[in-house]
């Protein structure tokens, strides 16, 4: 396994206080080590706290306990602002700013991170090209279909060249056919860009297609109940994966786990 780029150690998150009687623990003692170029998939039911977990990883919310280690440096319970550039975050509901064109949405990242220069502007085009939307550069989000919006969302998370890509149920709001298409596209992006990716989903097929490792989360508070290594070589992950015996084996196995957790 490659170098550890990112580790979380005994992360916990709770809301409220015990004194007021509305204490709620959302995440309980989650640890994982993530190696370079790994594709981690977190699988769990809706409302199990996996989104909150991702928000901690993406620097949106701090954890209440535990610590994180980024490239060998202990950064405590929250990602410090100067390290946010290493992360790209893709939201469940694309979360594009409606007042900016596709290009403008990507540009915002560069503006806020103060990344100037020709090479960055060129990168906008490159990223839009990777998701196949270069032609839609100057189009506003409301003129794009759901799948296209999410593709812009992914390009946006890639434009500042982060080391780690975080995807929070990126395909959850899409119809089944678009969803399938886009999951192959994420696979290709992973192959092409060689990023480390952490993704949350509730779809087992998607998880097996993409992941190097799958973590199954239980319901509130979230804890890791299973860790499954997906040992299907990258070359075999393509449209024919449905005929792969290992794939169907894993599928049955994980479906069993997920249903049992309900």
């Amino acid at each position: 396994m490659g170098n550890q780029v990112f580790s979380v150690k005994s992360i916990a998150k709770s809301f409220g206080s015990e004194k007021d009687g509305n204490y709620m623990e959302v995440i309980h003692d989650v640890s994982m080590d993530i190696a370079e170029k790994e594709f981690i998939v977190i699988l769990g039911n809706s409302g199990c706290g996996k989104s909150t977990f991702l928000k901690i990883l993406g620097g949106i919310e701090p954890a209440t306990a535990g610590s994180m280690v980024l490239n060998g440096r202990d950064i405590g319970t929250a990602i410090p602002p100067e390290e946010l550039r290493r992360f790209g975050f893709v939201f469940q509901s694309n979360n594009l700013l409606p007042w900016r064109t596709a290009e403008g949405n990507l540009k915002l990242m560069l503006q806020i991170m103060k990344l100037k220069g020709e090479q960055w502007n060129k990168r906008i085009d490159e990223m839009l090209d990777i998701v196949g939307l270069l032609d839609y550069k100057s189009v506003y989000p409301h003129e794009l279909s759901g799948g296209m919006k999410q593709r812009v969302g992914i390009a946006r998370a890639l434009v500042h060249d982060p080391d780690i890509l975080i995807l929070d149920q990126p395909l959850g709001a899409l119809d089944a056919i678009t969803r399938k298409m886009l999951s192959y596209e994420i696979l290709n992006i992973w192959k092409k860009t060689q990023k480390t990716i952490i993704m949350v989903t509730n779809n087992v097929d998607e998880a097996i297609l993409l992941a190097s490792r799958i973590f199954v989360f239980s319901n509130k508070p979230a804890v890791i109940t299973h860790e499954i290594k997906v040992d299907i070589p990258v070359e075999e992950r393509n449209h024919q994966i449905g005929q792969n015996t290992r794939y169907n084996q894993l599928r049955e196995e994980i479906n069993e786990i997920v249903r049992a957790a309900m």
Binding site: N45, S46, L144, S145, G147, M148, G172, D175, A176, I177, T178, M181, N202, N203, V204, H239, G242, Q243, N248, R251, E252, N255, V258, M262
Partner: protein, 267 residues
């Protein structure tokens, strides 16, 4: 041969906008027998929603005829009479509950519109609520209950006036995977008990295979029938079937049909 319950006879629909005319459905024919459960499968924009909206008199046909029980029902411009509308219940993609009515009032809405009065109808509302486990939420407002429960309410609203046909327009598309599986099983259960004729629209291949006896696959540009696949799977169907070879075979076949359409054009 027995008269088909529903018949589409070379139906074409063109939407006329100010600047252009869009061919939404081209030369579509299908026959469905009473008590059948059929799915219409296709990518977004293939006109599958248009089909059942034409059947339910929400929009009219441009060419071709639609028959229910041998009676022609494409009422161009004129409103479809309530006697025909009463034979059908429509389930929308979103729950489409009216937020100002309670769950029970929403479910009873067709009774008010069709002027169905009397204790037997009110009892029916309560029975249906019971059937899908919503009795204790009857007085709640739609905003107060979860998506899965809302969609259940949507299903029984379409059944409350005792229609012979249920038209379902991607009813579970907005639900998460696990809730959807559960709803599918509940729907099969309802169908087995009531023997309604069901037209189920979906873009989820697995769902189509799991539920129906026959799948009509549609393609885009223009919306048209690509393939009819008869599903020879035993009933009652269960969730464990999805890993059986025969099921996977059907899934692969349908995936192939869809793949042959124009995946590149799907956005």
């Amino acid at each position: 041969m027995q008269e088909p319950k529903i018949k589409f006879d070379h139906v074409t629909k063109v939407f006329q906008t100010r600047s252009q005319s869009i061919l939404a459905v081209k030369d579509y024919s299908m026959e469905i027998a009473a008590g059948e459960f059929v799915s219409i499968l296709g990518p977004s924009g293939c006109g599958k929603s248009t089909l059942i909206r034409m059947l339910d008199g929400i929009i009219d046909t441009t060419e071709g005829d639609i028959f229910i029980d041998g009676q022609k029902v494409n009422y161009a411009k004129k409103k479809m009479p309530q006697s025909i509308l009463r034979k059908m219940g429509f389930i929308f993609q979103q729950p489409n509950m009216l937020p100002w009515f309670t769950v029970r009032e929403n479910i009873a809405l067709p009774l008010r519109v069709f002027d169905l009065k009397g204790p037997e109808w009110e009892k029916r509302v309560d029975e249906l609520l019971e059937l899908v486990g919503l009795t204790e939420y009857a007085k709640a407002y739609p905003a107060e209950i979860s998506g899965g429960m809302l969609q259940r309410a949507g299903v029984i609203r379409a059944m409350v006036h005792d229609p012979e046909i249920l038209l379902m327009d991607e009813p579970f598309g907005a639900l998460d995977e696990l809730t959807r599986e559960q709803m599918n099983m509940e729907l099969l259960d309802i169908w087995t008990r009531t023997k309604k004729t069901i037209i189920f629209i979906t873009h989820n291949i697995e769902e189509a295979v799991l539920l129906s006896s026959r799948v009509y696959v549609m393609g885009t540009h223009p919306g048209r029938l690509v393939e009819i696949v008869d599903l020879d799977l035993p009933r009652p169907r269960t969730l464990s079937m999805i890993t059986q070879p025969k099921f996977i075979q059907y899934r692969e076949k349908l995936e192939g049909c869809i793949g042959e359409i124009d995946l590149s054009k799907i956005k």
